[in-house]
């Protein structure tokens, strides 16, 4: 299968594309005999597998074995819980003393780390973000390493290249077309960067695993705005010379997408 479209033909066949992209693939397939033959062979293979392969079922004996194993596990957990309750009653004093002093040391350490690390960090990350944003604007090659408005191209492209896999969508109808993506080093990670356009403005959305101390507050450095949020366990930082309100609209679109993505 040599046609560059074949992964998209496969994705359409597997029902993984949205309606617009699927229609695009459909149009392509009409004109590409190679892709048409490919899709036909996908259909034949599926039909044969679903018709001829033994689906198989768990036997009643296996069901019974599992029920017995779960009974035993349930009883074990109950015993362990009641033993723990007994121990807690008998050892109340030492148990509390130990926990209190342990917690005290941990709290002190956390406070110290906070005091020592916060100024360093909040100073560094916004500057790093703006530096990466400015560098990305120097040429088209710097801005996007993968050029596509299709999330099914951009998202898989990040796999293996970046350390995280962010939510990806094109918001052209809302005025924020997806231009592509690239990978930047940020916080010593390979951050996945989504590049959007809004009018003449470019918007970079960096995503990475945030450090323990969280993300910087909204800020403006060298005239560029920085706005950050967390969705699921990923940190997203948006940098642009577009207006605050326009950036917030895109942020909301991405947050809604991440929320839907997490529910699926």
């Amino acid at each position: 299968m040599q046609c560059a479209e074949h992964l998209r033909v496969q994705a359409a066949f597997d029902g993984e594309l949205d309606a617009v992209s699927a229609a695009g693939v459909e149009r392509h397939t009409e004109h590409c005999p190679e892709c048409r033959a490919f899709r036909d062979s996908l259909e034949r293979t599926r039909a044969a597998l679903r018709r001829d392969l033994d689906y198989g079922q768990a036997t009643p004996e296996l069901r019974a074995r599992i029920a017995r194993a779960l009974d035993a596990e349930e009883a074990r957990e109950r015993r362990a819980a009641s033993q723990a309750a007994h121990r807690a009653v008998r050892w109340t004093r030492p148990f509390w003393v130990g926990t209190a002093s342990g917690a005290g040391v941990a709290a002190l350490a956390a406070t110290l780390a906070f005091v020592l690390l916060v100024p360093l960090r909040s100073a560094a990350l916004p500057d790093e973000l703006v530096a990466a944003h400015v560098a990305s604007l120097s040429s088209a090659q710097h801005l996007t390493q993968v050029v596509s408005t299709d999330r099914h191209t951009v998202k898989p492209w990040f796999a293996g290249r970046a350390d995280v896999s962010p939510v990806v969508a094109d918001f052209a109808t809302q005025g924020y077309p997806l231009i592509g993506g690239r990978v930047d080093t940020l916080e010593r990670q390979r951050a996945a960067v989504l590049v959007y356009a809004h009018g003449a403005h470019k918007i970079n959305v960096f995503s990475f695993a945030p450090g323990r101390l969280g993300l910087p507050a909204a800020a403006t450095r060298r005239g560029y705005h920085i706005s950050c949020w967390k969705s699921a366990d990923l940190g997203y930082c948006m940098v642009s010379d577009a207006g605050w309100d326009e950036m917030q609209s895109l942020a909301r679109l991405l947050q809604d997408l991440a929320a839907r993505d997490a529910r699926e």
Binding site: M1, H6, L7, Q10, A11, D14, G15, E16, S41, L42, R44, T45, R46, A48, L49, R50, D52, L53, D54, Y55, G56, Q57, A58, T59, E61, L62, R63, R65, I66, A69, L70, E73, E74, R78, K155, P156, W157, F158, A159, G160, S165, A262, R263, E264
Partner: protein, 180 residues
């Protein structure tokens, strides 16, 4: 029966057959598949609090797959299993077809051939293909089960389908009866 057990039976137990089918295709023998599924249900029950979201099936199948891999590693450590075992294009490694006198021999041949071809695929190709075609899982669910990114699922699926097609054509050319 406590609350945890009844929640577990409502959310996880309905996927027993899917768990069994995956184990059956991963393991060498039906007995091994039963052991893997039982162990997987026990681990799933212990880890039930870590199940987030509605997708209990992908979560359970990921545990089944992990149980299979650790059982395999254990057997290899004890020297009971040759390393090349998983790649053998040997019909013994597949689900042995159940005897069924009702079916005519042509249908049985097609069945056996497909089972042999599937068994001959590399394990990482076999699992994505079966999860997609037999369990009807989305790329995201398959990514969860097999612990790889979605892009890898897409490329493995493409390679699995291509490999199956190649061996199918070879088989059809060599054998007396072509299955298209």
């Amino acid at each position: 029966m406590d609350v945890k057990r009844s929640r577990f039976e409502a959310q996880v137990l309905p996927h027993l057959d899917a768990a069994y089918r995956l184990a059956r295709w991963l393991c060498r023998s039906p007995g091994d598949a039963d052991d893997v599924v039982q162990e997987a249900f026990l681990r799933a029950y212990r880890a039930f609090d870590s199940l987030r979201g509605p997708d209990a099936r992908a979560w359970l199948l990921a545990i089944v797959r992990n149980c299979h891999l650790s059982a395999l590693a254990e057997r290899r450590r004890r020297g009971h299993e040759p390393l090349a075992e998983e790649h053998e294009a040997d019909s013994q490694a597949a689900v042995a077809p159940l005897p069924d006198p009702e079916r005519d021999s042509i249908e049985r041949d097609a069945r056996r051939m497909l089972e042999r071809l599937i068994a001959g695929l590399a394990p990482e190709h076999r699992e994505v293909l079966l999860l997609r075609e037999l369990e009807d899982m989305s790329y995201r669910e398959i990514a969860t089960v097999t612990a790889v990114p979605i892009g890898t699922v897409m490329s493995r699926l493409a390679r699995a389908r291509a490999a199956l097609k190649v061996s199918w054509l070879e088989e059809s050319r060599g054998g007396p009866r072509a299955v298209r």
